[in-house]
């Protein structure tokens, strides 16, 4: 038998039924739920008089609509409030565990899943959110689903799927000082494009990936969807196994050992075949900054805003021109000369403890530039916030003139009150620089936490390696 990829192993372990055309019923182990994409699924289930198959597999948390300021008065926006209350009511009705807004365990769904041990290696994980790919960092098969699939999964515990092709992206060598998982993710997207991974499940491999912490691997897998791949994953190693020891929902004692023995098999075989392979040299990756309205519109911090005349195709030239007009940038501008109005450190991409430590190390003893109207730090969960406070990071940020907020998705997509005003320019650690993503007319530049922090201090983008 030929060798199997990690993706093959995860897929094979969850096949319930296969149709002659290859359409497969895939069993789902964990279903993570948030307030935005779930109400219509619960309603559909009720209207059809169907029962959920196994509610113990589902765990819910409100994250997109929650305020990041004082929560003692609840949610001010009545429309946001209704959505969160609807989640509370559905979880109560169906008996689904929920970490409510004021629970210390509340946070961004993709942060709390691994943090609580709800996500485990070898699991199939679904969530009605495209950044579900994050959970693949643990050797899990994690898919984003739409609301109809959500309803289907609630009713049947399965997804109707066709197997994707397999791609391996190897990053070999050592990352330079000041270069993070976020820079690796953006460099990959710059290389293969936002549709480069469409139709593929991507495994990230190579010595630079093995060298990343679990937090870094999550950042990388989180951005797989920005390269078009519905699933990203990293093979299990000792770091993966150790991450779960003592997590609330992880197995304990003998069961942990039994699980760990299985988890360690979740690696691609040496003779496994991939449909596509991409190799990057870690030493050549520099800090990245996006200049346009798609994550693939990215250059290194020592670069310049490109000229549409140099675009590889007519369609792209058109896109670049439109992006420059939207971003209010002229071709040829050095990235380090671009001044910013706001800083956002947070999101499911970069809101974990390691991200906050990186950013705090940059701002320690300094102060935000006068032209920066707002610099906000939004921890990924209540527990991340608590740990950061134990380490004194909140004080470092506050002394630097940064705001220290409550956990949630916040200004990554601006469904709550945190947003950019038209024309405002933001150094953001989030994942999408689409038009209007952080607020209508807002201009987003995607960077790592250290680069966002440095831009907040300098008032413009700077190379964190020389900062």
């Amino acid at each position: 038998m030929p060798g199997r990829t990690l993706y093959d192993k995860l897929w094979d372990a969850h096949v319930v039924h296969v149709e002659p055309d290859g359409t497969t019923l895939l069993y789902i182990d964990r279903h993570l739920v948030h307030e935005v994409t779930s109400p219509q699924a619960f309603e559909g289930l009720k209207l059809a008089g169907r029962k959920p198959w196994r509610t113990s597999s589902a765990v819910a948390v409100p994250d997109h609509n929650v305020p990041t300021t004082d929560r003692s008065q609840g949610i001010a926006d009545p429309v946001s409030r209704l959505q969160v209350e609807t989640l509370d009511a559905n979880c109560a009705e169906f008996g689904i565990t929920e970490f409510k807004m004021n629970d210390i365990r509340q946070g961004i769904v993709h942060v709390i899943g691994p943090e609580e041990g709800l996500t485990l290696p070898g699991m199939t994980v679904v969530c009605g959110d495209s950044h579900t790919s994050t959970h693949g960092a643990f050797g899990a098969l994690a898919h984003a689903i739409g609301t109809s699939e959500f309803e289907h999964e609630l009713a049947t515990q399965c997804l109707v799927q066709k197997k994707s092709k397999a791609m391996r992206i190897r990053v070999e060598g050592e990352l330079g000082k000041g270069v993070t998982a976020k820079d690796v993710a953006l460099a990959i997207i710059g290389e293969i494009g936002t549709a480069g991974g469409t139709g593929y499940a991507v495994e990230f491999a190579g010595s630079a990936i093995r060298g990343l912490s679990m937090e870094g691997r999550m950042t990388l897998c989180n951005m797989a969807i920005e390269a078009g791949a519905r699933a990203g994953m990293v093979a299990v190693d000792e770091k993966t196994v150790e991450y779960f020891r003592g997590r609330p929902y992880a197995p304990k004692g003998e069961l942990f050992d039994q699980a760990a023995a299985y988890w360690k098999t979740l690696v691609s075989d040496a003779d496994a075949r991939f449909d596509a392979e991409v190799v990057l040299d870690a030493a050549r990756i520099k800090p990245q900054v996006t200049w346009g309205t798609s994550p693939e519109m990215v250059v290194t911090v020592d670069g310049k805003v490109p000229n549409p005349a140099d675009a590889p195709s007519e369609v792209k030239r058109h896109d670049w021109e439109r992006a420059l007009a939207y971003m209010g940038l002229a071709a040829g501008t050095p990235i380090e000369q671009i001044a910013i109005d706001k800083v956002f450190i947070g999101s499911c991409t970069n809101s974990r403890i390691e991200d906050l430590r990186e950013a705090a190390a940059v701002v320690k003893g300094k102060h935000k530039a006068a032209n920066v109207k707002l610099a906000m730090v939004v921890p990924g969960s209540g527990l991340v916030k608590q740990q950061a406070e134990q380490e004194g990071l909140d004080k470092v940020f506050l002394e630097a003139g940064f705001e220290w907020r409550e956990p949630g998705c916040s200004m990554c997509l601006a469904m709550n009150a945190d947003r950019l005003e038209p024309g405002e320019r933001c150094a953001s650690t989030s994942n999408r620089n689409f038009e209007g993503r952080q607020g209508a007319g807002g201009r987003t530049h995607l960077v790592s936490p250290a680069m966002a922090a440095a831009a907040g201090i300098a008032g413009h983008f700077v190379d964190v390696r020389n900062f």
Partner: protein, 212 residues
Amino acid sequence: MKPFTRLDGLVAPLDRANVDTDAIIPKQFLKSIKRSGFGPNLFDEWRYLDVGEPGKSNHDRPLNPEFVLNQPRYQGASVLLARENFGCGSSREHAPWALEDYGFRAIIAPSFADIFYNNCFKNGLLPIVLDAAIVDKLFKQCEANEGYALTVDLDKQTVTTPTGEAIPFEVDAGRKYRLLNGLDDIGPTLLHSDKIKAYEERRKAEAPWLFA
């Protein structure tokens, strides 16, 4: 779900690559707990000159005359012609809901993002992948001819131009069957309940921690 069989539809050309689901339906409208009513806010930031909010009437809002869907010749369009990687970004099913609610039933593009493509089939919306050169030709024909319409026949898997040229397209057999008949996936899956239960029994023995 509305079945999709055959469609004779006016075509609207949206000449941009990488149209993301944030552009198709901006985030503020995702606060709705319903499945319907998203059509008036389809492409909201491109379509209107002001910022839309949920609950705000759209009738008096200033339209962007430059935006293709606001041009008189494209009123009533039910086929959207688009460029590569249409529907990238967020998994929000509100994107196909908004397109369908507006009146689109088919989208033709050289490529689609995976999640969006999959979500379309659950909502009576047919995404059709055609070769980039053919899509380019359709864009040119559409822009040159007012009232340009295409016939989409799902059963025969063809898109037919006004001059009678029938262009074949591929679609997965299972998805085609469900879309032709307007079926959702849950009923057919539940026919395999015994297999799902058998899988669970086997898995509980192999990996008991997953059921703890």
